[in-house]
Structure formats: structure tokens, C-alpha cells
Symmetry: C2
Subunit: 868 residues, 2 copies
């Protein structure tokens, strides 16, 4: 299955540099730092230093070459480092002077001393071929690994194996059939073949080493099968994962976790599950859409609008220059609007709310399963362990934090002194940023209103049909561009604010950063959509008493009864535009561009690139790869997409489909990026996706409320219902259009606002119609809000209450029905516990028997502390 | 501080029987079983056997005598027992024949054999003085304890001590002042003195025995201080806890936990926190009530009603026999109603919703703190470990389950065979029971309506004022009695249904039982209240078109505009009645009565009671105590009370006060019961209060919605608001009463329904008024629902939406603001982790040094598996 084996030379060249000078001890980790070369001037040095701002390079042989670093070990060392007040090197940003450099090198030496004290072996390599960069190779001996594994309470596989219970009889036949059918979807990776034998795991303890299979110590702290497949794993990932042609297959998550660590493994597992769940959602979404298409001709309201006999004269759409118009001209809009505003939409929003709950439940189960498979069940929560330096001031590995792995630039935080002003700055800045978003959205609205008014005035009546389109398109594009720009700005602002706040530990740093970024990006992405859904078309006033913005422009209206359609258009433009541009341009283009810059810059140096490149160790050439920027942007992108899929799904049933198409590409794109474009990130242990789960839950909750409001207030669902059951003479929707239109006596127009062309339709108009529930001119209180308005409003609000509570209740039921721990996992856990008890009991008996016989072998522990 | 020391004889007599026959090995646990005595007939034997249905007696020396059993040990053994297919003895319920008895004794021997295999030492005592009961004394040797502690990953204190950081400077002064002020509130128990030194805890491992202080092995598996205070703890609990005179003090939770185990400790900690939180709630409640009292004279609507000049003629309250009446006669009701229906009520409901959220958050923190203090942080969840017998069929210690400790009657469950029918039976029975509740409530309503109608007809007009009172009182009492009876019935039904369902393990059994019991008792307690709040007075129709029940009785109305007051009366009667009767009669009376019965029954035997009693070992006389029935009823009572406090709190601001008064008694009552009336329950480990937390959360969520509806629909808050802001000419409430009354033309009464005494008021009436929003007779659509109705309805619904979402959001904010782990605990956990790392590192270095010197001492482990 492995198509391309490495040639011996390639293999050798890759292996080279992976061992310390004795050729025996494997390099587990490499740190880099800037070196001041006496031959070079300050200027070039500074640029070099900036180049090496991310100073921890991983000894990664990237695909298709092979990587010899030890995942487990990295984790261990990261812990060492942080508990010993980690300090690698700060990038040179300020003016570089000697005393600063001395200070830094002093700190570095101090740090290296601490590493040595912990038992790590260190070798420096300042004569590397990359100028201005020093490399520190680190090897972790066996006893250090053991000690750290014990401290971390790592669960490791013991010698004891047991058979996983196989299903029998009919169930077996069925499951084997299903497996065969799914065979094609699984990647060609050994791990996926269902094994019937599993190693019993136990918390590692040096006193119990006899329990574990230590025959291959070099690979013990990798997971069990890794020793055999490891040299091919990168290559395998390249073939079977980071490849668009396998888009239809499951991901080899186990392999991903082995290569990149649990945290990144969890991200891809989550993304995979999300994408899988999207298949269901898009299927239902497409069916709902097709239902709309199929029934569009049976829709009575749009038929009534389109029927030429229903000769309804509408009031002008703008002051003076516009004239009366026939309702039948909006026939097309009415029909199109029905596609998004039909009874199936209500069903779909309820379905999507349940879908979100189901997704979350399934993720909990998946996470539990992965925790079990990856032996993380004993891992303690990080929150309980704030990693603070012992000397009071806290250093944090900001890179590790923000990047979720690679220790890059370090920041020193002064604890708690500048808290209050930082907090105030935070709140003020956040409000300011949100204010900016609102201002921008308002600006775009103004642009739309004023341009439209201007175009109405100047253009000939024949070209007016094009006006709407032009204005809408340009406005949407402006909107999109601004959103994309602000997205980048907000990311930087959130990071800056979080650094300012100086949180106490990594966990807290990451959470605060994510929280801020999420708030800002969420507001940024959804403000224009929120406006379209709930504000546009509500505050227009009525003929004779319109509401004006800046006293000259009438507030925006939706096209006749098609607010939901406008919402749909807005939503699809922002969602698709964001995905296409951010994915393709930013995620593929920018890294390529940055790599090019990096490459060109290093070329500016005074040595022959080609020659050098050949001689470079793998870890030296990896230095030119992009550093790993963390999982935050990846998750953030997906959460915002999750928002698009759930929040306004009532108006856009195709959203899940577009998300699905995007994600199928996204998985492979991310995979490619991780395998080939980035320095291999330090593996990080994680039990769950942390704060992202809470954010997902929050979005799902908000989605329920927003969908309730979209259905009851933006769509015409409730007015139709109310008409049908309270006012319709025959229980059908016939007459509904007429019922929703109020009467206006044209003589009541304000002076100067009446149309200049009253005979535009060919006959004099006395009473025109407009869409609102108001009393007619001939009632005792003309143009007052009518009883129908209040009745519809009450039903709308009642619908919101019922919808929200029913959906929340159904969510609780789903939560309750689907157990958090899959049944087979809970059975296996129980089996393992029983086996463990047996093991200990047996050992106990053995130990008791030995002294009875009076024999004491040298290789066995014979000391017993038994007082009975 | 210990007022009454034991006399030497008492001490000796208590100690007697607490050791095996060698006088050295302590009895840790006692099992009892029925013995067939050849001299006795079948009949008396059967009664004896029924007497000993609860067959696990604890070797408990109850207060004020001293108890020598070992809590820790019990826990260990319970685990042993259940993992080895526990079987103690079944009570004799069926016809007792020899083959059955043989079978049982065979099983018992099998079980005893298993216990022995585990290393436990067993001694039988069939010659005990209680006839028909055999006692099995069990001793767990040191090595068994060690093994089980290791398997359970118990955290035990190590030798290493560290200083808990003391606050300094001003903070210290303040906290010491506060401590001094609170001194009086703390019980006179040593544990509460703040210690500045704490033992570092570590998961117990036999290979690391040198870490632990094993100088006193007898008491090591108790908690650290217990050895010194244990012999006095029962006495202390009796003095400082189970005593009404210390009601104002904190509870000695640590001591309770040591004596009764974590599960019961958590219950009392929870109850204590709940009671503490109730102080705040009742304070605010009283203030709100006083505010109502103080402002009752400024209330414009009631002033308008009472003013004799407002000569409003109301429509008759019943058909034919009743006549028109003056609104001013309901002046008293209107004024009283204001006490419960004023703006402060809205504030109070919001406050109580937040209070519930805060209570839950505080409980999470308290639980975390207790987990830390009790070294439970490493305890694994039980759910992952279904305790199933290895031979396929599952035995469960039903007693342990249901009673939360005492293993009583055992049931053998056939796994999964009868599942489906049992499930169907469950659902059907639950629905049936709920139906019964509804039927009963409907019956009470019918009683009220019909009695009232009958009384109206027969009585003289002068006595009519007494009618209301009589009917209401009798109805309320009937209601209360039925609720109390059904409560007991439902408890039994829920248990029966759960046994039928045959859940797989203890955990599941308990959860299912609690769930069912809760549903039934909740519905039972709240159906009549729900009816009063939301149905009564809504479906009455209008004059000329009243709604009739069984075509003759008009549906119930509230007294004029006083639905909220009726709700309040109903609520207080049920709540107070339930508390008084269930607490005093059931919790004190019944156990005393049962004990008496037990005592009398045993007297029926043919031996001299007095003589025997003197000779009895403590464990034998404890056999006559009531077995521990579990915590379920205790929790259930409190949860239902929590429902009364939160669910309809908008109508009854004094509910928290009554709950507080009840709970102050309840804590000491429960304490007394646990210490003196019941057999000492087997200590059970628990990390949290389990399903009760979810139920609490559910009740708090439902409370938000119900309060929203009570405020907007039951109270007049929204109509007043709407009138003030939409209709009032001067923005005040003047004219509100008139606005809420519709007009009715008396000539429109149905034939035969009009009053027989039209001139009752002394003048002919043409138009009477009734409370509703309907069109007047002279409108184009007379008696139709008016625009005001819809407007008020819309505002009501909007209020519900806003209230619910604002309160839920505030709950989330509270949840987010209050960290789950108290800061000092999280700091201490971190400190412990750091110390542990240091300890291991130091040990590591020591070990490395020894072989370097070439020395290998015999008492130290010297075998090292170090390949470097």
C-alpha cells in the first residue's frame, strides 16, 4: 500500500542529524536562538533575528521524508520547561544592544542549566549552516521519561492483552456486511482494521515496570503500534489524508494523533464529525428546498399577487419621483420568496435545532471514545494546575498557548499589577470595536439608501429594474470586503487586548483570547444579517408619515413581503464570499506567499543557496517553514460557519450544503497545510476541545431563539396562519393578500411628498394600498394600528415562546436519551477494571506465596510490608 | 468540651463484642441472617425472619455509647462484596420450606467462601442472644485493606506536611475579626479550628508505603485525625449536631462524614448550604412583603374600588339566585390582593431565579471544596463501572441502592429478558398515576363548585359571606389530605415500577427510582396550584354566555381580580400543611411507633426480655433499631420544598421564610434520627449529590418560565402597565379599574339565567359590568374580544419572552462569574502538585545516588530498571 518507499540515501540523509554526536542518543527536541555573528553588521543581524523570532524548531522530517522526533517526549519536555520557568529566547524587536544580548544569553544559560538539572542531555550546535541561528539539541533519557510519565499519570499499555468481545450471530453478519460496504471509505491505514485484541492500560509507575512490555524502550513512550509504522506515518498521512482525491473517505484520526498529538487529533476528529453530520443536514436542507420549488405553483398568496385580475394599486415606493404601481409587477419576487418562506421552513428550523443538539451529543460520545482509545481517561484537568513560576512572576509560553503547541515568542507577565486599567481598556476597546462594526453596517445601509434614491431620481423609468440589482450587488460586495478586513483587524486587536490583560496561565490566556476573538468576529459577521432579519422594513412608518433617516431618506423596505428572501441573499453572499476568499486566498495563498518571502529573504544572505540547501540537515531546512499558528483560527472559522448553518437557517435551507462542500475541501486543505507547509507543531495532550464546546453550545442556544424570531417575525408564516384560522371565510388562504394590505387615501399625503406623476398607471388613484395592519381612512381612528396587528403580534410572540421552550425541551430529551458514554466503551471500561482487579489480586497471591517458600529471587521485588 | 465521659464499665461493655474471639482483631462489619431453630415452630420462625429482613446490621455502638467500626473499611468491604456477586440473605416472604432454606444456606456458604478467598477473616456467632438471628463477624486484615485502597485509588495523607498560606496584613486582620464573630456559630468540634498545616495527599500504593505515616495502622484507613477523636465522635455528634439547641450553629460536616461516610455528609452539607441560602431569600421576601404592606394605602386601583363614589354595578356572580352587586363590596379583597400583587413581586421573582442559580453555583463550589478536603478528587465516576456479576446474571444489593447504604433485602435480576413489557407497564402506570392526580384535583374542584352553588341557593343572603370561607377551607383540607395520601402511594408505586424495570446496576436503579418518584410527587404537589394559577378564572365565558361544567355549574372565578391571592392561599396551605404533617407526624411519630412495634413483637418471644437485654452485645441490641431507609426521602422532601420556594414565588414572597423555619428544625431532626433512631448506615463514598443536582437544575429552569407566566398572566402587573403607558390620559393608574371592566346589557341574558331579584340594589339595572376586555353592547360586534385584549396579550407574551431570556442570560452570567473551583482550593491543589513533583524528584535523586555508592540496604527497594 505504501507506494513510494524512501531510497536508502534519502533515508540516511534524513536520519542524519537526528542523533546526538555519539550517534546513539536520539534528538527529541530542538531549540533555536539567534546568534550574534561577529562578521555581520547589526542590520543584517536584526533581520535574521526577526526571521528567527519563532525559535523552537521541531526536529521534523516533513513528508515525504521521515521524522524521528518523539511525540510523547515533546509533551514531557514541554511540561519540564514550563514548570522550570521556561525561557527560550525573545525576538529582537527593540534596538539591539550588547547588554540586552548579554542578558538574554545569561537567561538562556540559566534555562539550559535547569534543563540539565532535570536530567535532560543537551548538545549545542552553533556551527550550523543557517547563519545567525544556533541550535540546541535535547535528548531525554529513559529515566527522565519514566519519572515524567509517572508524574503525569500517563496510562500506558501493559503486557496483559484481552479479547474485545465480538458480536455474534445475526448482529455479526450485519456488522460485517456494513463494514464491507464502508471498507472503501476507510483510509488505507493499518490501524483501522478492527482488532479483536487490546492491551490493558494502566497508569505508568516505575515500581510496576514489570507490568509493562519494555522490550523496545526507544518506542515505549510512543503508542503501541507506532514503532512498527512510524517511519511511514508521515508518508501515509500525505497519501491517505492530506490529499483531495480521498475526500470521500474517513480520516485516519489515530495516525493524525500519533503524528501531531491529541490536541490536533481532536480538532480533526471534531471537524470530521461536523462534516459527517452536515451530510444529513444538507440532505434535509435540499429536500426542504426542493419541496419549496415543487409547491411554488400551488401557493395561493403568490397566485393572487400574480393574477392580473386582482387589480391592486400600491402606494409609491419613494417620495415625489416614484408613482403608484400594480402589485402584480412584484409577481416574480413573490414566487421566489415562497421558496424560502413555506411551511417546510418551520420544520427545517426545528430539525436544525435538534441537529445541533445531536451533533453536540455525538461529539461528547466521540470524545469519550477517543479518550478511551487514546488512554486519556486518567488525565487530570489542566485548569486545576495553573502553571506559574515558583519565583512569583509568571512566564508563559505564549507561543504554546496561542499556537497550541509551538513555543515561539515568549512574554513575561507581571502578575496582577496592571490588572484594573487593563480590564477597563479591554471593556472599552471591545465596546469600541463593536461600535465600529455597527457604524460600518450603518454606513453601508446609508450608501444603499442614498444611492438608490439618487439613481431613482436621475435614471429613466425603464432602467429602474436594474437599479435595485446594481445597488444591492455593490452594497453586498462592500459589506463583504469590510467584514473580511475587520476580521483580520479584530483578530489582532483581541490578541493585543489579551496580552494586555496578562492572564495567569496558558489555559486562561487561550480562553480569554478565544472569547474576545469570538465576540468580535461573531458581531462582525452577523450584524448586517441581523439588521436585514429584524430591523429592515420594520421602521418605515406609513404613507403620509414615513420615517426618514437624516430627514431626507426614507428607511429601507424589503421588496414586497420578501424580507426573508433578502435575508437569504445577504446570508449566502456573506457566507460563500467569506468561505471562498478566506479559504482559498488566505489559507492557501498567503502561506505560499510568506514562504516565498522567507525564501527570498534568506537568499539575500551572502552564500550560495543551492549548495547550502543540499548540505542542510532536515531540521535546518525545516527552519524555513511557516511556524504553526495554533488551532484557534481553524476552530474560529468553523464556529462562525456553524453560526451560519444554524443561526438563520430558517431563511436559507441550503446553508448546510454549502458548508459541507466547503468542509470537504477544508479538511484536506488543513491536512496538507499541517503536513507540508508548517513546522511540525509540538504535540499537546488534550482531553477535550475546551472552551470551543461551550461556544458551540452558546451558538446552538442563540440559534433557537433567533430562528424562533425569524420564523415568527421575518417570515409570513404567522400572518398566514392567523388569517387562515381567524379571518378566512372558507379556511383557505384566498384573500390573504388583500387582508395584509391597508388602505390609504392619497389626499392625506404630506405636502411636497406626493408623487409627481399621479396618472402613471393611466387612471386617477384615490386610494392606494400598503403592507401593514392599520385602520382604513374611513374608520373613527384612521391609520391607527388595528386589532389584527395586535392579534398577529400576540400569536407571533406565543409562537416564539412555544418554539423556544419546545425545542429546548427536545434538546434536553436528546441529551437524556443519548448516553454520554457509548455502550461498548462503557462495557470495555468495565472489563478492563475487572481484569485489572484480577491482575492485582494474582500478583498479590504470587507475592504472598514466594516468602512462604522461603525463596527470594534477585530480579523480583521481595520486600513486603505486611504486618499480618 | 466533652461534657459526659463514658464510665469505664460502659466503655468496656461497648468495646466487648467489637473484637473477634482472639480479642485482637477488630470486627469491621457484621452480617446477620435468619437461623432455623429446631425447637421453634414454623410460624414464629417466619415472623422472626420477617423481622430480620434487613440482614446487614452494622457493628454500631450508637450514641451516647461509642462505636468501633471502621468507616473506611466498610466501604472497602462493600466493594469486595459486590464485586464477588454479593449475596447475604433473602427475607422469607414465600412459604418457607426446607429445600429453599438449604438453597439459601448453600448460597450463603458460597458467599462466605468468596469473602475468605479475598483474604477477609470470618467468624460465626450463631449462639447470640437474639433468637433466630445468626451473626457473621468480619475482620479485614491490613494487606486486604492496602490492596483495596490501591485498587480504588484512594488518596491518603502522606508524611509530608506543608503550611497552608495564611493571608497577611489587613486581610488577615479582617478575616480574624470575622472568624471571631462567627466563633459562636461554629460547633465545639476540634476540626473546625483552622489549621495552618495540612498533610499532602497521594494515591495510596503498596509500593510507596514509605511515603505514608503507618505508625498507627489500626487507624490509618480512617482519616487522619479520627484516631484521636473517634471514640468521642458519636457523643460529640449527639451534643453538637443532633440537638435543637444548637440550631443557629454551622454543622460539624467533617465529623458527620467521618461517622456516616461521604454520601450522608454531602447530604447534610447540601442541606446546610440550602438553609444558609434561604436566610438571604427569606430576608428579601420579608422586605418585599413589608413593602406591600407599607404601600397598600397608596394603591390607586384598590382606592378606586373602595371609593363609595365609584358606583359600579357588577353582573351577578351566579345564575338566578345571585343578584347585581356593588364593586365597592370587594374592597377588602382588593386591598389584600395588593399585598401579593405589586411591582416588588416582579423584582422578587427575578431575584429568586438568580438566587436559585447562585445556590447551584455555590453548591458546585462547596462540593469541590469538600471533594478536596475529603481527598476525593481522584475518585472515579461510578457510572463507568456497572457492578455486574461475572456469571451473567446480576445480583444487586437493592438495599444498598435504595437505602444508600444498608444492604437489606436482595433481589436477583434477570438481565434484559422482561425489558419491553416492563417498560410499557412503566409508561402506562406513570400516565395512569398522573391521571389519578388530575382526576382527584378535578374532583376537589367539582366539590367546591357544587357545594358553593348549593350553599348559595339554600342559605339566607346574610350568611353568604361565610359560605366562601367554609367551602375554601374544607376544599383545601381535602386537597391536602389527598396529597399526603397519594404521596405515600406514589412512593410505593415508583419503587414497584423500578423493581419491575430491573435496571442493570445500583446507580441506575437509584436514578430511575428517583426520577419516577420525583415526577409523581411533583405532579401531585403542584397540580392544584397550577390549576389555581393558570386555569381558574380563565375559562368562565362572559355574561349571557357562561361556560358550564356538566351543563349546570358555572366554571370557577377568582374573587374580583385576586387570582394571585387565591394562589397564595392555596400555596401556603399545601406547603405548610405538608411540612408540618410530614415532618412531625411521619418523621418523628412513625419511627417511634415502628420501634415500639418491633420491641413488642420481640417481647412475644418466650424469654425474659429484661434479662436478655442486659446481656446483649451492642450489635445485637442495634438489631432492633430501624434500618436506614436511604437518603431518597430526605432529598425528595427538600426538592419539593425547593419547588415551593422557587416555582410560584411570585405569588408568595414568604415561602422562603417558612422553608427556612422548617429546615432549621429539619436538620436537627434528621441528625437526631440518624444518630439515635436508625441503625448506623454503611458509609458510602460519593463525589457529588448525583441526579439530585440535575433535578434541582430542572426545577430552577421550570421556575423561571412559571414565574414569567405567573407575573404576566396571573397578576395584574401587565394590564396596569399597558393601561398606564397606552391608554391612561394622565399617565397614572386613575381609571384603570373602569378600563378593565366591560359592559353588558342585562336584556341579553339567556332566558332562565337572569337574576330573580333584579331590584336587589334598590334601583333597576340596565347595564352591568364584568372583568374582561370585550366590546360593549353598542359596538358593531358586541361582546367580541376587543383590541385592548390583544394588546394586553401581546405585551404579556412579550414580557414572558423577555423575562425568560433575561433571567436565563443572567443565570449564565452568574455561572460564568463564579468560578466552579474556589480560588484558595485551586491554589492549594497547585501547591500540592508542585510539592508532589518535588517529592518524587527528590526521591529519584536519592535512589540514583544509592547504587552509585554501591550500597544496597535490605529495607530499601534497590532494584532499578534504568538503562542509561
Amino acid at each position: 500500500k505504501i507506494t513510494k518507499a524512501l531510497t536508502p540515501e534519502e533515508n540516511a540523509s534524513c536520519q542524519h542529524g537526528l542523533f546526538l554526536q555519539d550517534g546513539q542518543k536520539r534528538v527529541d527536541y530542538i531549540l533555536t536562538y539567534p546568534v550574534r555573528e561577529p562578521s555581520e553588521g547589526r542590520c543584517s543581524q536584526r533581520s535574521e533575528q526577526r526571521l528567527t523570532e519563532s525559535t523552537v524548531t521541531h526536529s521534523a522530517c516533513h513528508s515525504p521524508q521521515i521524522q524521528g522526533g518523539d511525540l510523547q517526549l515533546h509533551q514531557l519536555q514541554r511540561r519540564d520547561a514550563s514548570s522550570a520557568v521556561a525561557y527560550v529566547e525573545m525576538g529582537c524587536v527593540e534596538e539591539n544592544n550588547n547588554s540586552q544580548e548579554d542578558h538574554r544569553s545569561l537567561k538562556r544559560e540559566e534555562f539550559e542549566e535547569k534543563l540539565r538539572k532535570m536530567g535532560l542531555e543537551i548538545e549545542k550546535d552553533e556551527k550550523a549552516l543557517v547563519p545567525g541561528v544556533g541550535f540546541v539539541k535535547i535528548h531525554a533519557p529513559w529515566n527522565v521519561l519514566c519519572r515524567e510519565a509517572e508524574l503525569m499519570k500517563l496510562k500506558m499499555p501493559t503486557k496483559k492483552v484481552y479479547e474485545v468481545k465480538q458480536s455474534t450471530g445475526v448482529v455479526k453478519t450485519i456488522s460485517s456486511l456494513v463494514n464491507k460496504a464502508l471498507e472503501l471509505l476507510h483510509p488505507h491505514v493499518d490501524e483501522h482494521q478492527q482488532t479483536s485484541i487490546k492491551h490493558l492500560s494502566h497508569t505508568f509507575s516505575r515500581d510496576k515496570q514489570h507490568l509493562f512490555d519494555l522490550s523496545d524502550k526507544d518506542n515505549f513512550f510512543d503508542s503501541k503500534t507506532r514503532s512498527s509504522i512510524f517511519y511511514f506515518s508521515a508518508q501515509l498521512l500525505y497519501e491517505e489524508w492530506a490529499n483531495y482525491s480521498v475526500f470521500y473517505k474517513y480520516q485516519p484520526i489515530g495516525l493524525v494523533r500519533k503524528y501531531f498529538g491529541e490536541k490536533i487529533g481532536l480538532y480533526f476528529a471534531w471537524l470530521g464529525l461536523y462534516t459527517q453530520m452536515l451530510i444529513l443536514a444538507s440532505l434535509v436542507g435540499v429536500i426542504v428546498f426542493l419541496y419549496g420549488c415543487a409547491t411554488v405553483n400551488d401557493n395561493i398568496p403568490s397566485m393572487e399577487i400574480c393574477h392580473p385580475k386582482n387589480n391592486i394599486t400600491m402606494c409609491p415606493l419613494c417620495d415625489r419621483v416614484c408613482s403608484y404601481w400594480k402589485l402584480s409587477t412584484s409577481c416574480g419576487t413573490a414566487r421566489a420568496s415562497y421558496l424560502f418562506d413555506n411551511p417546510a421552513t418551520v420544520f427545517f428550523s426545528i430539525f436544525m435545532a435538534l441537529w445541533a443538539a445531536m451533533f453536540m451529543e455525538h461529539w461528547k460520545r466521540k470524545q469519550m471514545q477517543l479518550n478511551y482509545e487514546w488512554d486519556l481517561t486518567g488525565l487530570e484537568d489542566k485548569e486545576q494546575d495553573p502553571k506559574r513560576g515558583r519565583d512569583g512572576s509568571a512566564f508563559i509560553l505564549k507561543g504554546t498557548v496561542a499556537a497550541g503547541g509551538t513555543a515561539t515568542d515568549l512574554i513575561q507577565l507581571t502578575s496582577g499589577r496592571h490588572r484594573l486599567p487593563a480590564y477597563v481598556t479591554n471593556v472599552v476597546m471591545m465596546l469600541l470595536m463593536i461600535g465600529v462594526t455597527f457604524a460600518v453596517v450603518f454606513g453601508v445601509i446609508l450608501y444603499r439608501i442614498s444611492t438608490q434614491a439618487a439613481l431613482y431620481m436621475s435614471s429613466s423609468p425603464t432602467s429602474r429594474s436594474h437599479i435595485q440589482l446594481t445597488v444591492k450587488t455593490t452594497a453586498a460586495i462592500i459589506n463583504l470586503v469590510i467584514i473580511l478586513i475587520l476580521d483580520e483587524v479584530y483578530g489582532a486587536v483581541a490578541r493585543w487586548l489579551t496580552v494586555l490583560e496578562a492572564p495567569k496561565n496558558e489555559q486562561s490566556f487561550e480562553e480569554k483570547l478565544i472569547f474576545k476573538t469570538f465576540i468580535l468576529k461573531f458581531v462582525n459577521a452577523f450584524t448586517p444579517i441581523f439588521y436585514t432579519a429584524f430591523i429592515r422594513g420594520r421602521l418605515v412608518g406609513r404613507p403620509g408619515q414615513y420615517l426618514y433617516v437624516f430627514e431626507s431618506y426614507r428607511a429601507e423596505e424589503c421588496a414586497h413581503g420578501a424580507c426573508l428572501m433578502e435575508l437569504c441573499i445577504q446570508l449566502s453572499i456573506i457566507m460563500l464570499g467569506k468561505q471562498l476568499i478566506q479559504n482559498n486566498l488566505f489559507e492557501i495563498g498567503i502561506p505560499k506567499f510568506k514562504k516565498l518571502i522567507r525564501y527570498l529573504r534568506s537568499k539575500q544572505g551572502s552564500f550560495i543557496e543551492e549548495e547550502r540547501k543540499k548540505k542542510l540537515h532536515r531540521y535546518e531546512s525545516d527552519h524555513f517553514l511557516e511556524p504553526f499558528a495554533g488551532l484557534v483560527p481553524e476552530y474560529m472559522e468553523m464556529i462562525i460557519q456553524f453560526g451560519f448553518v444554524t443561526l438563520f437557517v430558517a431563511s436559507f435551507p441550503l446553508a448546510p450544503l454549502f458548508a459541507l462542500l466547503n468542509n470537504i475541501i477544508e479538511i484536506r486543505l488543513d491536512a496538507k497545510k499541517f503536513v507540508t507547509e508548517l513546522r511540525r507543531p509540538v504535540a499537546t495532550r488534550a482531553k477535550d476541545i475546551g472552551i470551543w464546546y461551550s461556544i458551540l453550545r452558546g451558538v446552538a442556544l442563540v440559534a433557537v431563539i433567533i430562528n424562533a424570531f425569524v420564523i415568527s417575525f421575518t417570515s409570513d408564516f404567522i400572518p398566514r396562519m392567523v388569517y387562515q384560522y381567524m379571518y378566512s371565510p372558507d379556511g383557505s388562504l384566498h384573500g390573504f393578500v388583500n387582508h395584509t394590505l391597508s388602505y390609504f387615501n392619497v389626499s392625506h399625503f404630506e405636502h411636497g411628498k406626493e408623487t409627481m406623476d399621479p396618472l402613471h398607471l393611466g387612471y386617477p388613484v384615490e386610494v392606494c394600498r400598503y403592507k401593514d395592519y392599520r385602520e382604513p381612512p374611513w374608520s373613527p381612528s384612521p391609520y391607527e394600528i388595528s386589532k389584527e396587528f395586535w392579534a398577529v403580534l400576540a400569536v407571533r410572540l406565543a409562537f416564539v415562546i412555544v418554539f423556544q421552550n419546545v425545542v429546548l425541551l427536545m434538546n434536553e430529551v436528546v441529551d437524556w436519551l443519548i448516553p454520554d458514554i457509548p455502550k461498548d466503551i462503557s462495557l470495555q471500561i468495565h472489563k478492563e477494571n475487572t481484569l485489572l482487579v484480577d491482575l492485582v489480586m494474582k500478583e498479590d497471591r504470587d507475592k504472598t506465596r514466594v516468602p512462604e517458600r522461603g525463596a527470594s529471587s534477585g530480579t523480583k521485588k521481595t520486600y513486603r510490608n505486611n504486618n499480618n
